[in-house]
Symmetry: C2
Subunit: 372 residues, 2 copies
């Protein structure tokens, strides 16, 4: 049985338990859901239907692309359904002979007005749209990487580490002087190594712009790694999985305040890493790091980290928020990324990707604070 | 009065007519809404509240960034609201003394389960979540560009045209041989000219991959503009506004079938352009082009075009779908992008950005089919 089939079988079991007769996944602009690729290999722009009789139907925007990539039992071009999702649901239900009145689950991100339209237009079924349904079950499964995913992720990390070393060499040698230089170097080197590209737009912020958590614009023709603190935040995508790392480059003599920011960030990173263990509360970890910064009257204006995989941000979430109930489990891959930002001093962040195994934390990437 | 203030005044008028006391815009990962930037200048990752007393409150993730870019009456960091949108709504209502029981409008893309949570948690107000509400009114206004937008767009088009000419020169000179070469050349040249980056990930597909409407991965280390038909689809972003053009590069002697695809695409483009006129039905235009291809037993597997601006795809939509009621109006900027794709022959597409003025169609960009 192929890996996609195996993943679908897990969801069919779930559907059986929950008496869901038909389920739709949707991956289009504005509402991306990489679970579709995780379940079929198809890179995107498609609907996917899973039926209680353990059959899958892909409805791709581009049927030629589906012929190259998709592993599903059937495929029908979306154009044949007039590109209308409600029509696609009715057609899938016909095809699979879904019993009238049975439960049909749609994505929990379905907008309220669209949900109302489905309920009216697909009125022979019981439409479910819920946050704790099949789509969340898929996301929970995706949070624990399987063997195939670990293989891919180790390769993505290997490419990322090669590029980090090359970045250090080339910045040191004075060959990457602007934010554009640094960002496009990453784009090219990742793809030359067989990568699919960057997992998100690279953030390259020289000392004048590094105070922004996510600098805007993400990179410019301005100087990079000049006097002060520069941030380089990027991810390389390989076979659908992205890494996510942040380097800080430091040049020249820093002020006491800047040195303090760097040293607190490194200590916060070490503290976070020391807490990584099976069963630990993700919220608790984030709260500890917030408290650590708080003791020095500093505040980190973002979360401690987040899961990564097919998405740059996915489960588990390592943030100090009341609704965060995630616990760390073996097979999870997530970032730890403490940072501090100051409009007058600039910013610094250190971010690596951590795999939790049965033996403990394995730091997959080698991002670091680089003093020039 | 500044441009952001003017745009907000238009929406306050609308709110008054519709008796909406408070409205929320949301721009975060997964639910992007450039209307927020259109209304404040703030680049993103924020909530925006508009109140019936014509006051605005921005709730940014990054307050430092807001200090650089945002034009709003007030700003409160999202962190102070525990990054919870329902809490932000309650706090905004308190701040503006929104009368209990009055109408509070939230984005129409709000997922159904989130809508239910708001209704429960913000229960002193009448929560509106509808597809024909304030957010659609903002999108309709954005479809007709104002003077400031036309100024920006002409500059974006000028940069795009310079880069198109440089691409032709450099491909002809043999300096851009791979998809990576072509795509990164665009990234660098756009930013060197003051652009914010590309408006979407560049699609550079050599002859072996151009059959995909949107090639996957978007660009690779493989050959570009080698023997056959190659597609280069990109947009350059300037002050928040993106262009969207597609060039086809042709090298060597083509088969009769390939020549036919090219000539039909060029004729379809000319046909579409000839129809651009105030009051014309966008659906009708798309249907005419579909019928034109149909006469030669070809089918275009995507829409004829779409509005562009702060989003790569926005209103109006030029597609042949029953629910499309858009008519062309002066001030609209949209693409025309006929194309044909064949797994055996490759693909071709020609796409330019058209502004409709009181005098008729003005072709802003100069993408073309380039024979090497």
């Amino acid at each position: 049985m192929g890996v996609y089939d195996e993943r679908r079988q897990g969801l069919y079991d779930w559907m059986e338990q929950e008496a869901v007769a038909l389920a739709m996944f949707e991956d289009f602009e504005g509402r991306r859901d990489p679970s579709l690729r995780w379940l079929t290999g198809h890179p995107g722009d498609a609907l996917l239907f899973l039926s209680q009789d353990r059959q899958s139907l892909l409805v791709p925007w581009d049927i030629n692309m589906a012929r190259c990539y998709a592993h599903a039992d059937m495929a029908i071009p979306y154009g044949e359904m007039d590109r209308q999702p409600d029509r696609a649901i009715r057609q899938a239900a016909d095809l699979f002979k879904t019993p009238l009145g049975s439960r049909v689950e749609i994505p929990p991100v379905t907008p309220y007005p669209v949900f109302l339209r489905y309920v009216e237009s697909v009125n022979s079924f019981d439409i479910l749209c819920r946050s704790n349904g099949l789509h969340e079950a898929a996301q929970e499964r995706r949070a624990i990487k399987d063997g195939e995913e670990l293989r891919i992720y180790r390769k993505a990390a290997e490419i990322t580490n090669e590029v980090i070393d090359l970045l250090e060499q080339n910045v040191t040698a004075g060959k990457l002087r602007t934010e554009i230089d640094a960002a496009l170097f990453i784009e090219a080197e990742g793809r030359k190594r067989g990568g699919e590209g960057t997992g998100f737009e690279t953030l390259a912020a020289g000392p004048g712009r590094s105070f922004g958590i996510h600098a805007f614009p993400p990179y410019t023709a301005g100087p990079f790694a000049s006097e002060g603190m520069s941030i380089l935040d990027f991810g390389l995508k390989y076979e659908g999985y992205t890494t996510d790392v942040t380097l800080t480059f430091v040049r020249g003599t820093l002020s006491g305040r800047q040195e303090k920011m760097l040293s607190l960030t490194e200590k916060a990173y070490a503290l976070a890493l020391s807490m990584v263990k099976e069963g630990v509360s993700a919220r608790g970890m984030a709260a500890s790091v917030d408290a650590f910064f708080g003791k020095s009257k500093k505040a980190m204006p973002h979360a401690l980290g987040h899961g990564i995989g097919m998405e740059a941000h996915e489960a588990p979430f390592l943030r100090n928020r009341a609704d965060n109930t995630w616990q760390l489990k073996p097979g999870m891959i997530f970032t730890l990324e403490p940072g501090l930002y100051d409009p007058a001093c600039g910013g610094c962040r250190l971010e690596n990707d951590i795999l939790l195994t049965g033996e403990g934390a394995e730091v997959l990437t080698r991002a670091r604070i680089i003093r020039l």
